[in-house]
């Protein structure tokens, strides 16, 4: 009790200081415990950079090579740490370059605060040099945004921004601050925001819904859990495992839910969705109760909604009420934070094992193993597969690495085959599928968790979308391991062309540069592997490197990712070849 009195009196005699708006911005970041930010300077944000110079010992600013890289790095930082990632940019082109990362963070619920400079307020709306209506542009892709034109409004706006970004269902926010507000002096006080009147971050669990859910689960013969990133965001991994184990329910994950339960757990039955595993997709249309936890029934997961789990009672554990019944009609919605609701569900559940039901998953896995997996990770024919590269990384990392992927075939292969022993180990662009995400996101992840091995896996296409971030890696001495799986194609699009467009490979073939020379140009150790016999040693050398390391693996040109639920088809129509 005594400590509390002390803090109370301390807050009571809060000292105000007269400082500039730009200094206030930096002080707000410090007050929010921000230690690393990603950004790119320019005229309208220069006063802030000047303050960052002064506060270098408190905040480390990372100069990325493109503002898009700054947002993805902030995302990678947020995804592995669970903290808010911060990106800053100047007005106009700086601000618009943030948009891809903001949109990505919005759909993947990643907490991020973006700060943009803006032209002086007297020029607003006049088409001044480097003026864009970034608040208007970012509105549809932010959880919240605002423009500040007075220094005195900066602390409250930033406090609110951090609170909104990380509370409830997290998301990106943007605060646009005019240059005059950055120069203006005012009496600075910072108070953290703990609530916003109109905003209820965590909805109340409807009375009786947990009991109703438990009853349905206890009576189920073939219950099936599908979990998503909500579990990771609410740090409900232990609660989920407890539920899965007590009730003996097979559980599958969406791409963003990956790693919440270790790959090796016997009740972890694999990945859902378009390139997910055979059993969980097929058996979605066999289960009698479908328990969705912190996932939003994305169309990449459900396929044709009219043929999705129609036989099952659906229970949806969800923090965002707008997701309930949005795509799939539920029988019981359990609103709330998954950590809390799953903990409350556990004592209501009967212990069970569902051995026969689980056997069905094992049987289908065997089919998938023989038809697909074996050939992917232990290939015998010529030509390196993406799967065997991932397998080799597993061998060296022992499943402890954080895997950051870009978008395409390699992403699906990495998510399918990477071993995850630790949660928050799969960092990928799920909802937006943003090529170019991987490399910069890996920088953020490595800086947030320097003790972890961070392996970035990209295709030759996406890698070249943000290849310039090699410069950031070099300058920051970020020891990320960079793997490019080079098939000389925009592989995923080529696969679709092969399957659905009669092999008409329109503009998907890529003539690539000397990737090793480029990496070496950035003073990053680099190697290229073209033969199976070289692979194991090269991966080992990469993983043992204390510094950043680039590995290019030339894989078969026309390898495909299977299984596959063709878009618009039912999940039970998943193809193995």
């Amino acid at each position: 009790m005594e400590t509390q009195t002390i803090t109370n009196t301390e807050t009571a005699k809060k000292v105000t200081e007269r400082i500039s708006g730009s200094e206030a911005i930096v002080r707000c970041l410090i007050a929010e415990d921000v230690k690393i930010i990603y950004g790119y300077p320019g005229g309208a944000i220069m006063p802030v950079y000047d303050e960052l110079y002064k506060y270098q010992d408190k905040i480390h600013h990372v100069l990325t090579r493109h503002e898009q890289g700054a947002t993805h790095a902030a995302q990678g930082f947020a995804r592995i740490s669970g903290q808010v990632g911060v990106a800053i940019a100047t007005s106009g082109p700086g601000a618009t370059n943030l948009i891809t990362g903001i949109a990505d963070a919005q759909i993947d619920s990643t907490p991020m605060v973006c700060i943009t400079g803006q032209v002086p307020s007297h020029l607003l709306g006049s088409d001044a040099f480097q003026e864009t209506d970034i608040v208007g542009i970012s509105t549809p892709v932010t959880k919240w945004n605002c423009q500040v034109t007075k220094a005195a409004d900066i602390p409250a706006a930033l406090a609110k921004a951090f609170y909104i970004a990380k509370s409830g269902r997290p998301g990106p926010v943007l605060v646009d601050i005019t240059k005059d507000a950055q120069f203006e002096e005012f009496d600075f006080v910072y108070e953290k925001c703990e609530k916003v009147r109109s905003y209820l971050p965590i909805p109340k669990t409807v009375a009786g819904s947990l009991e109703a859910a438990a009853k349905i689960i206890n009576e189920a013969k073939k219950p099936f859990i599908i979990w998503g990133q909500g579990v990771v965001l609410s740090e409900a991994e232990q609660e989920l495992i407890a539920v899965v184990e007590k009730a003996g329910i097979p559980a599958a994950w969406t791409i963003l839910g990956a790693s919440a339960i270790a790959t090796s757990h016997p009740l972890n039955v694999g990945m859902l969705g378009m390139h997910g595993n055979y059993a969980p997709n097929k058996l979605t249309n066999e289960c009698d109760v479908l328990i969705a936890i912190g996932m939003r029934f994305d169309d990449r997961v459900t396929g044709d909604l009219n043929k999705y789990a129609k036989q099952a009672k659906v229970i949806h554990f969800e923090i965002d009420p707008a997701e309930v019944d949005k795509n799939v009609k539920t029988d019981v919605a359990v609103l709330g934070d998954a950590k809390d609701t799953l903990a409350k569900l556990l004592p209501l559940l009967n212990a069970n094992s569902h051995i026969d039901w689980h056997q069905q998953f094992k049987d289908l896995y065997k089919i998938e193993y023989n038809k697909v997996i074996k050939n992917d990770i232990y290939p015998t024919k010529e030509g390196l597969t993406m799967g065997e590269v991932i397998h080799q990384i597993n061998v060296e990392s022992k499943g402890e690495a954080a895997i950051v992927t870009d978008v395409g075939q390699h992403q699906m292969i990495a998510c399918r085959y990477a071993d995850f022993n630790k949660t928050k180990s799969n960092i990928t662009s799920g909802g937006l599928g943003t090529m170019g995400f991987g490399l910069p996101a890996a920088i953020g992840a490595k800086m947030a968790a320097p003790e972890r091995e961070v392996v970035s896996i990209s295709g030759d296409g996406g890698y070249q979308m943000t290849i310039q971030e090699l410069g950031t890696i070099f300058q920051q001495k970020a020891a990320v391991k960079i793997v490019v799986l080079n098939n000389e194609f925009l592989g995923m699009v080529r696969q679709w062309q092969q399957l659905f467009f009669d092999r008409r490979y329109a503009s998907t073939e890529m003539t690539n540069p000397n990737f090793v020379a480029i990496a070496e140009g950035y003073y990053i150790k680099a190697k290229k592997v073209t033969k199976r016999s070289e692979l194991a040693d090269a991966v080992k050398e990469m993983m043992e490197s204390k510094e950043a390391y680039f590995l290019e693996v030339c894989v078969e040109k026309e390898g495909n990712v299977f299984p596959m639920v063709p878009s618009g088809a039912s999940v039970s129509d998943i193809r193995l070849e």
């Binding site: 959880k143 919240w144 945004n145 009147r197 109109s198 905003y199 009420p321 949005k326």
Partner: protein, 177 residues
């Protein structure tokens, strides 16, 4: 898409009085290709709280989803939807008409009387009629007057009060707990 029948709904949205919210709210309709039939925003009975009244033609399954998306906006306090039967509402129409018609066409005077329209102003060139009521009443008046020629015509958004109680103040208290 649901095959359920579409009908007019009035959406009432209580919000913080903040710049930019109109953008956020209209974007929700725009993304789903929903045409806004009418829109009104004004202060509400609670200080600092604004109220939007938006009329749209939709089916009930989809309006529920829209309400969810609207309520998700940080500065939206609460959103409701009502069929037009569940609210008391008014629309206002303004008609600008040549003054000579007022004196030369007897029938116009009868139309004004019968329709309970109100003359807002008269000058040498024109007079302005105002009529409040349901949309049909205003449209009927429009049809009658258009025979004679209308110089300008405009109709307001729908404004509404619900028959049911809306406990916004109480809601705000629970938020601040």
């Amino acid at each position: 898409m649901s095959t359920e029948k579409e009908q007019l709904y009035a959406v009432s949205i209580y919000t913080e009085n903040n710049i930019g919210l109109l953008n956020r709210i209209s974007a929700i309709f725009q993304r789903r290709h929903i045409n806004i039939e009418s829109l009104n925003t004004s202060p509400s009975e609670i200080e600092g709280v604004s109220k939007f009244t938006i009329v749209v033609n939709m089916n009930e399954v989809n309006i529920k989803k829209i309400i969810g998306q609207i309520e998700k906006q940080v500065e939206v306090i609460k959103a409701y939807y009502h069929s037009l039967d569940d609210i008391i509402y008014q629309i206002s129409g303004l008609f600008k008409i040549k003054s000579e018609l007022l004196f030369e066409e007897r029938q116009i005077q009868n139309i004004i009387k019968e329709s309970n329209a109100r003359i807002v102003t008269v000058n040498k060139e024109f007079f302005v009629l105002e009529k409040s009521g349901k949309k049909e009443e205003i449209v009927t008046l429009y049809n009658k007057l258009s025979v004679f020629g209308i110089m300008q015509y405009t109709r307001s958004g729908l404004i509404a009060i619900t028959k049911e109680e809306m406990k916004i103040s109480e809601l705000l208290e629970t938020y601040s707990n």
